[in-house]
């Protein structure tokens, strides 16, 4: 197994706490993600460490017996300690002061140091499970324990959601509790709350191995069985949810697999069957840094025993080793997956759903274009299409938002939010900077392939109706010009595959000396832009096509505002006297029409040209003012 093969890892900076031992009890609070190390019932100290805060809270409390559970309220204001099965002790927590406790069997009013019963429900409960992220509690009811009653907490109220039944593996033989809380987890996946049930034996006898059944638990409506994750093995499992992936750890083999419910699975009409996205792999080996005085640190770190039986797993992504005193967050490494998932289309589908995907996606794109590792054009096209579909989705959302803002809907609809640009939005500039620009410069890549790839990307953008940026067109032109493929370029321009723009027209002008038709292509483009009339005049004048320039400007009705001097200069340079005469006469006529006099005004700075005209054609050739 290569170093690059591990796609799961424990976070680099775990929460370290004093490991559990007879005098030190360790507790974990899922809501605040805090670890409590309670030494001697609290008398010799309680140390609380969270994943984010690097400053642990430590305090002492009176030893009033064995602590069964200990937690803080949100923001660490109230400490709750459970010492007997029926009572919970509360204390307002003020750092660095002694704690005064108050007891209640179950809303806490800290200012009155009392609690208030808000609502009560009478249900026989076997066990419960609480998901802090979604504020949903799940109660196991009935004798078998497989009817689950969810409640949803919001703004101090508690609402009952429809109960649902978990299908047990086989018809239960006895009437004792059949569903254990160990086999149930709750997690939010792609914004939806799911109840995950680890079914050790499939209901269908022909398939062996355990599976994870996902029940979708919506805020409104009934819970519905949606997905089945096939584990194809048996033994001890633990679940985590990381970056919307369901991670299933298998203790016997000391490996884990991941599932992505958004990837296409086998749909049987009611539920979708999923297989692991990737082959099973162990979590990346982890070295425990050896703490100690400076001279001893040269000692090599100790490898951490992974998948240890003392591991406890919490949702969504927490692994705790009480015996070693560590709390880790599980992480998914995307780079190794690139080589484990050969189907590039599926790989893109997978990556596009991940949080930190952009650089990996770009590296996949670069990789599939390198000579040694080159993908076929249909595969490349599929990848581009997937990227641009996501890109277009964002552009559309952004446009809808802008339009709604302009229409003034922001006040009436509080739901209107600026769309979030996730890392999955890989735009043209990203592709140009990180992939295409470098790709076109590689000497070893055949130009045919370079052009095919660029055209494929442009095709994909067009297919999703995304306006192509001119720098991509310039890349195409540059590549074609480098290989003298002017006729190809001509055809692309003829079919407007390379969209009109002033920068492109200028680029074409610059190519005229290598490829004369570029001049015509450029003028056509300027004409179509319809905002580049000045440029057209300049181009024609530079080519000494003075008459053509004048006819053009007259054709679009701009001849009253042009500089006579500019045209006379150009006409004089041609050394064609008849042309000069024609142009001169045209402006005399313009003067006559606009001012009633054919002569030029001093502001037009045409004295030199008038003198030249007289010199060549004589004074009498000057147009006389019309007299009525």
């Amino acid at each position: 197994m290569g170093e690059e093969d591990y796609y799961l890892e424990l976070c680099e900076r775990p929460v370290h706490f004093e490991k559990a031992n007879p005098v030190n009890c360790v507790f974990f609070d899922e809501a605040n993600k805090q670890v409590f190390a309670v030494r001697s019932g609290g008398a010799t100290g309680v140390v609380v460490k969270g994943p984010d805060d690097r400053n642990p809270i430590s305090f002492r409390m009176e030893d009033k017996g064995e602590v069964k559970c200990i937690k803080f309220s949100l923001e660490n204001k109230i400490l709750a300690v459970q010492r007997t099965s029926k009572t919970v002790d509360f204390s307002n927590f003020i750092p660095d002061s002694s704690q005064l406790e108050y007891t209640q069997e179950c809303k806490v009013l800290p200012e009155k140091r009392s609690l208030k019963l808000l609502k009560s429900q009478n249900i026989n409960v076997n066990w419960y499970l609480y998901c802090p992220e979604s504020a949903v509690i799940l109660l196991s009811t009935t004798v078998l324990g497989n009817v689950l009653q969810p409640f949803y907490f919001r703004a101090g109220t508690m609402s009952k959601l429809p109960k649902f039944e978990i299908e047990l593996p086989a018809a239960p033989k006895s009437t004792k509790l059949n569903l254990s809380e160990r086999d149930i987890a709750m997690a939010t996946i792609y914004g939806q709350l799911y109840v995950l049930f680890l079914r050790h034996h499939s209901r269908t006898s022909n398939s062996t191995g355990a599976e994870v059944v996902l029940y979708h638990l919506p805020r409104e409506g009934a819970c519905k069985k949606m997905h089945i994750l096939k584990l194809s093995r048996t033994g001890k499992f633990a679940l985590n949810v990381v970056d919307n992936l369901v991670v299933v750890h298998h203790q016997d083999t000391e490996t884990s697999v991941i599932f992505d419910i958004r990837l296409r699975g086998e749909f049987d009409g009611t539920v979708t069957l999923h297989h692991p996205v990737l082959p099973a792999r162990s979590i990346h080996p982890y070295q425990i840094p050896v703490a100690g005085p400076a001279p001893v640190t040269s000692q090599s770190p100790v490898p951490c025993k992974l998948y240890s039986s003392s591991w406890i797993v919490f949702q969504p992504d927490i692994i705790i080793s009480a015996s070693q005193g560590y709390l880790w967050n599980l992480q998914v490494k995307l780079q190794p997956i690139v080589n484990l998932l050969p189907d590039k289309g599926r790989l893109m589908d997978f990556l596009l759903q991940r949080k930190e995907c952009k650089m990996v996606i770009l590296s996949v794109c670069s990789q599939m274009l390198t000579e040694s590792d080159r993908a076929t054009l249909p595969v490349i096209a599929t990848v581009f299409d997937k990227l641009n579909q996501e890109y277009k989705k964002y552009l559309d959302a952004e446009q809808n938002y802008t339009m709604a803002m302009e229409a003034g809907q922001s006040r009436s609809s509080p739901l209107l939010r600026r769309p979030v640009r996730t890392q999955a939005v890989v735009d043209q500039s990203d592709m140009y900077t990180h992939v295409l620009s470098a790709f076109t410069e590689k000497k070893e890549t055949p130009h045919k392939f370079v052009i095919a790839v660029l055209m494929e990307y442009i095709r994909s953008l067009n297919q999703f109706q995304i306006a192509v940026q001119h720098y991509l067109h310039e890349l195409v032109i540059k590549t074609l010009v480098q290989h003298n493929l002017f006729y190809m370029l001509h055809q692309f321009l003829q079919y407007h595959v390379l969209s009109d723009s002033k920068p492109l027209a200028c680029l074409l002008l610059s190519l005229e000396s290598f490829y004369p038709p570029a001049h015509q292509l450029s003028l056509d483009m300027l004409k179509r832009l319809s905002t580049a009339n000045d440029e057209i005049v300049e181009v024609l004048l530079s080519k000494h096509q003075v008459l053509a320039a004048l006819r053009f400007i007259r054709g679009i009705g701009g001849h009253d505002n042009i500089s006579a001097r500019k045209f006379l200069d150009a006409a004089k340079q041609t050394d064609d006297h008849m042309l000069f005469y024609t142009i001169f006469r045209f402006f005399e006529q313009r003067n006559q029409r606009l001012r009633g006099n054919p002569s030029f005004t001093p502001g037009e700075h045409c004295e030199e040209h008038v003198a030249f005209f007289k010199q060549v054609f004589g004074d009498q050739a000057l147009m006389r003012p019309a007299t009525f």
Partner: protein, 423 residues
């Protein structure tokens, strides 16, 4: 090479009653025939390589043999009496297409060239009009000439007669498609089928490449695949090509047809109305035959040829456009080319005037415009702007010069508004 053309003669009765032979040298346009002559050489060169190469390979004897063999057949296909301005241009008619469909075609070509790596160049045509050429312009020009005046017409005849049904028998494991070879094997299921393709020579000025020409067609879309002559294509290769290209090309052809019809409706083309087959048969001009069939069966929408058929209803003007830069030509004067003869819809006298105007244009380098009133009262206008030429024949006998000028301006504004064409 020399071509001898005899001046047409007419016999007149002189005053004394004796017949006098009068040579009508004005009737012949030198430039048309010098162009035809050059075309003859280009066509010879396309299939045989240069004269020089023949001399090197086998001396004068070989050259004579080749010339004999080629021209014996080729000369019979020349219809010198109907040569005109279009022969001077030797242009290429491009198929108008939207960007997206064009990009799809690009994608198709690139993919085929990738999977059939012996394919060196590809050209794509639809409805006998060019869409893409991987060959250089000059080579494409003559290949286009061959395809549109020789190969395609030869295959249309049997199609019209309904001899070889385009819908092939379904083969197991093969997607049904409309693809077939115009050159090479006729029946891929016949293990004895000959995979012989015409050999062509391109880039004779520098790299001098010899290639096999594979022409493959699905509905109105035809693709030329050119492969290195040193590689002999096998029946297996042809089957592979058929299985890769056939289904894709069939879909593409129907996409192009559909897209073209949509565009035509949007752009408000001169004859944008959509006629059903029934209407046309009512008009009594067109008989429903495979050639008029729309590519997407059952849609009842007809494509290009119908427009030609309807334009017989004498529009106000007819024109020929040619761009020297990309050899693009467009003519509403010429009817569809048939294998036997190219038909024009105007009187030969008018065609001659067009030729004369063209000769005038050739003499000067600058942009020009010539307006002529023909003996038959038609107005003929020639415009030259940079590298483009436009010839218009107006059927407004009572119009004056100013009105004619306005008409042409209008025509330019509708037909050529996306190019820089001076008024």
């Amino acid at each position: 090479m020399v071509m001898v053309v005899r001046n047409p003669i007419i016999e007149k009765q002189s005053k004394d009653g004796k017949p006098v032979v009068e040579y009508q040298e004005e009737e012949l346009l030198d430039k048309v025939y010098s162009s035809v002559l050059q075309q003859c050489y280009s066509m010879y060169k396309l299939f045989n390589g240069t004269f020089l190469r023949a001399m090197e390979d086998g001396g004068l004897k070989l050259l004579k043999e080749r010339l004999e063999k080629f021209f014996h057949r080729y000369l019979q296909t020349l219809h010198l009496q109907s040569c005109d301005l279009l022969d001077i241009f030797g242009g290429i008619s491009f198929f108008p297409l939207d960007k997206m469909t064009y990009l799809k075609i690009q994608s198709f070509i690139n993919r085929v060239e990738e999977s059939l790596s012996i394919v060196k160049y590809t050209a794509f045509l639809y409805n006998d009009q060019l869409i893409w050429s991987g060959l250089e312009q000059d080579d494409m020009r003559i290949l286009y000439k061959y395809l549109t005046t020789s190969l395609f017409p030869r295959h249309i005849e049997p199609e019209l007669a309904g001899r070889d049904s385009p819908i092939r028998a379904e083969m197991p494991g093969n997607l049904q498609h409309y693809g077939r070879f115009l050159t090479g094997p006729l029946n891929l299921n016949d293990p004895e089928a000959k995979c012989r393709f015409p050999k062509i020579f391109v880039n004779t000025d520098d790299t001098y490449e010899a290639l096999h020409l594979i022409v493959y067609k699905a509905m109105s879309a035809a693709v030329c695949f050119m492969i290195e002559a040193s590689v002999q294509p096998t029946l297996d290769f042809c089957r592979r090509l058929d299985s890769i290209v056939g289904p894709q090309l069939t879909v593409l052809a129907s996409d192009i047809c559909e897209q073209f019809n949509i565009n035509k409706r949007i752009s408000g083309f001169v004859l944008c109305c959509v006629f059903t087959l029934k209407h046309l048969t009512d008009l009594g001009r067109v008989r429903p035959s495979p050639r008029w069939r729309c590519d997407r069966l059952g849609s009842g929408v007809l494509s290009v040829p119908v427009v030609v058929a309807l334009s017989e209803k004498e529009p106000q003007f007819k024109f020929i456009y040619f761009n020297h830069m990309n050899l693009a030509e467009k003519s509403t004067i010429h009817m569809r080319k048939t294998p036997s003869v190219s038909l024009t819809s105007v009187h030969p006298d008018l065609m001659k005037i067009l030729g004369d105007i063209n000769s005038d244009f050739t003499r000067v380098d600058e942009d020009e415009e010539i307006i002529v009133k023909a003996m038959s009262d038609y107005w003929v206008v020639g415009k030259k702007s940079d590298q483009r030429e436009l010839y218009v024949i107006l059927n407004q006998k009572n119009a004056n010069l100013i009105e004619v000028n306005e008409e042409v301006k209008k025509l330019c504004a509708t037909q050529f508004n996306n190019i820089f064409f001076l008024d």
